[in-house]
């Protein structure tokens, strides 16, 4: 095959990949503009409308279709994601800091931490439910499910921070000590500002992984549902386009989150780039 043939082939492959990646989302977005309340979650579009968006916020006249029972679930999921993000990031940063020096059993500890993201979620969730039952602990999204979310997202934050510390020059900390600054203050004034882009990445990982976690939460969260569980629950009755409208809105929210992250990263990258240019000059 000649070079242009390979190019065409790879181009087609990429196009196909993008179609599969965004196709479901696009279909969802189109169907969310179906007319209501009589329009169903399928083509063809009877008439374009924003009925289901209004329905989400309770702005439509009452009909036989109940409002999506997600308001509480959304608050719970956001709360859980924020809690998980904070705890996992703090744990990830401190654990990675500990791993900068070799200590006895560091290999075992490393694999124990990473195990949290390897083990099948359904099994861990089920196991947690059994443990909770045996010990007589009530299952809640903020207790048992929260612990599982941390166990799951902590390894991601840990690995991100490990990579960041790998590139960190320890002589900057030594320089700070030799100026008479305590190790604790050195961490706050020198180390932390320099690893901050990494901390941001770890936070993003932990938040998004927790926000749409399903399998672990399914068994461990007890009575009160988180958002992914609540949405799944609505499918078992009857699917209406209001779920799609909601999907579009959460996707937009995720994009906004990513956009904020990208903007923050761009600021630090631009600073680094200015450095590189100066270095060459």
């Amino acid at each position: 095959m000649n070079a242009s043939g390979i190019k065409t082939g790879l181009g087609a492959y990429t196009a196909l990949f993008l179609v599969f990646l965004y196709g479901p989302l696009v279909v969802l977005a189109i169907l969310s503009f179906q007319t209501g309340p009589e329009g169903g979650p399928q083509f063809p579009i009877i008439e374009w409308s924003t009925y289901w968006y209004k329905h989400l916020f309770g702005l439509t006249p009452p009909s036989r279709i109940a409002p999506l029972p997600i308001e509480q679930a959304l608050v719970r999921s956001l709360g859980l994601a924020v809690m998980t993000m904070i705890v996992s990031t703090v744990l990830g940063v401190t654990a990675a800091q500990a791993f900068r020096r070799k200590f006895r059993g560091s290999g075992v500890v490393f694999y124990l931490i990473v195990l949290g993201m390897m083990v099948p979620g359904v099994l861990v969730g089920l196991g947690m439910a059994l443990v909770a039952n045996t010990l007589g602990i009530d299952r809640h999204w903020w207790s048992t499910a929260f612990v599982l979310h941390v166990v799951y997202t902590f390894p991601f934050a840990f690995l991100v921070m490990l990579a960041i510390f790998n590139r960190f020059d320890p002589s900057m900390e030594e320089a700070s000590w030799s100026l008479g600054v305590t190790p604790a203050r050195t961490f706050r004034k020198v180390t932390f500002p320099l690893i901050f882009p990494g901390v941001l990445s770890a936070m993003l990982f932990a938040f998004t992984l927790s926000y749409d976690e399903f399998s672990r939460t399914l068994f461990a969260s007890g009575r009160d549902l988180t958002l992914p569980l609540a949405i799944y629950g609505t499918f078992s009755v009857e699917v209406h386009p209001n779920v799609f409208a909601f999907g579009v809105l959460t996707t937009l929210f995720s994009f906004a989150l990513l956009g904020t992250y990208a903007a923050l990263m761009m600021l630090s990258v631009r600073r680094a780039k200015r450095v590189a240019i100066q270095e060459e000059a």
């Binding site: 002589s171 030594e174 320089a175 700070s176 000590w177 030799s178 100026l179 008479g180 600054v181 203050r185």
Partner: protein, 358 residues
């Protein structure tokens, strides 16, 4: 002169490797001391042990008469200038320099005006005026070197350790910074311990030159003594200006692979292994048939190549046993001679110029 830093039989091993095997040292206050050692001689380890970044396995470190070998680095009051400068990239030049004053544990300066004044003074001392607001990533290598120095000096340590501080600079700048470093130190009156792998730098900068050889202090003397009377064959080899022969002393002569050299009047220096050393620039090259004086020693060798360095020419000869013999001719004395490729010449030196170790 009072002793600022004293090391008593400091040892440090990494696994099976002995990095430091019993260092004894006393450094005077208000002096420039250079520590010369080949790579792997343990010079950076020694510096890091003094600063407290590494723990010694044995021995004692006394600073101002107090034991500090178990004291944390930030409580030692010893400055450290890194080879890569280790500036804080998120702070400006002025902020880098003010950092130690504002954040140190003991006696931090909280008054903004005092900090500004001290920073301004040190910036003009090291010649960085006008660059206060720059990011440390926006200045040249030499300027970064000055920031690193200023950042340390502004906290007024009694002693500053410099780990190959000129290693990251280009040759031109290195020569200029040598003089600057000496001048800055004199104005501050602190002790500098400057570690370097370059014999020229060590000899040029140090009031005292310490030579470190496989974890031990091999010599501690002023530059002139180190250069002209190296204490051991190892020091002589490391100075990179002596031809060395292995052999033994026999009936008033040194017998080695290159022949029998009659000894001069001066007594041989004590050393672990016998050796014979003749400085590159004490040797003259003559035609094979030229006569030699009574007090001269002569060997024959084949010319290999020569290297022109402006003020001098270094010629390389191959001895009969295959070893290389180097001769340095200063061009202020004579025009450069041209030798025939692979031609055989007589290499001649005076008995008294040789250093003999036994």
């Amino acid at each position: 002169m009072s002793t600022v830093l004293q090391l008593k039989s400091i040892t440090k091993t990494y696994g099976d490797m002995r990095a430091l095997s019993g260092i004894d040292l006393a450094l005077p206050g208000d002096a420039y001391i250079s520590l010369l050692g080949p790579s792997g001689s343990g010079k950076t380890t020694l510096l890091r042990v003094i600063a407290g970044f590494e723990q010694p396995d044995g021995g004692a470190i006394l600073f101002d008469g107090k034991r500090i070998d178990t004291v944390a680095p930030h409580k030692r009051g010893i400055g450290f200038v890194f080879q890569n400068f280790a500036l804080f990239p998120h702070l400006s030049v002025a902020q880098n320099i003010a950092y130690g004053l504002e954040n140190r544990d003991v006696d931090p300066v909280t008054d903004r005006r005092v900090v500004d004044a001290r920073v301004r003074d040190i910036i003009s001392l090291v010649g960085l005026s006008g660059l206060e607001g720059r990011a440390v990533t926006q200045i040249s290598g030499g300027q970064r070197q000055r920031v690193a120095l200023a950042r340390t000096l502004v906290t007024e340590p009694r002693m500053v350790l410099l780990d190959e501080p000129l290693g990251a600079l280009d040759a031109n700048l290195r020569a200029r910074m040598r003089a600057e470093l000496r001048a800055i130190r004199e104005r501050c009156g602190v002790t500098f311990l400057h570690v370097t792998g370059s014999e020229a730098e060590a000899l040029a900068m140090g009031d005292t030159v310490l030579v470190l050889e496989s974890g031990r202090i091999a010599q501690s003397a002023d530059s002139d003594t180190v250069y002209n009377r190296p204490a051991s064959p190892a020091v002589a080899r490391f100075l990179n200006c002596y031809n060395l022969f292995q052999g033994r002393i026999e009936a008033g002569a040194f017998v080695g692979g290159a022949g029998r050299f009659a000894l001069g009047a001066s007594a041989p220096t004590r050393a672990a292994t016998p050796a014979y050393a003749i400085r590159y620039d004490r040797v003259s090259v003559r035609p094979r048939d030229a006569a030699i004086g009574e007090d001269e020693i002569r060997i024959e060798a084949n010319f290999v190549a020569s290297e022109y360095s402006g003020a001098a020419v270094n010629s390389f000869f191959a001895l009969d046993d295959g070893r290389v013999f180097e001769v340095e001719s200063h061009l202020s004395h004579a025009a450069p001679e041209t030798y025939a490729e692979q031609g055989r010449y007589a290499l001649v030196w005076k008995r008294e110029d040789a250093l003999v170790y036994a």
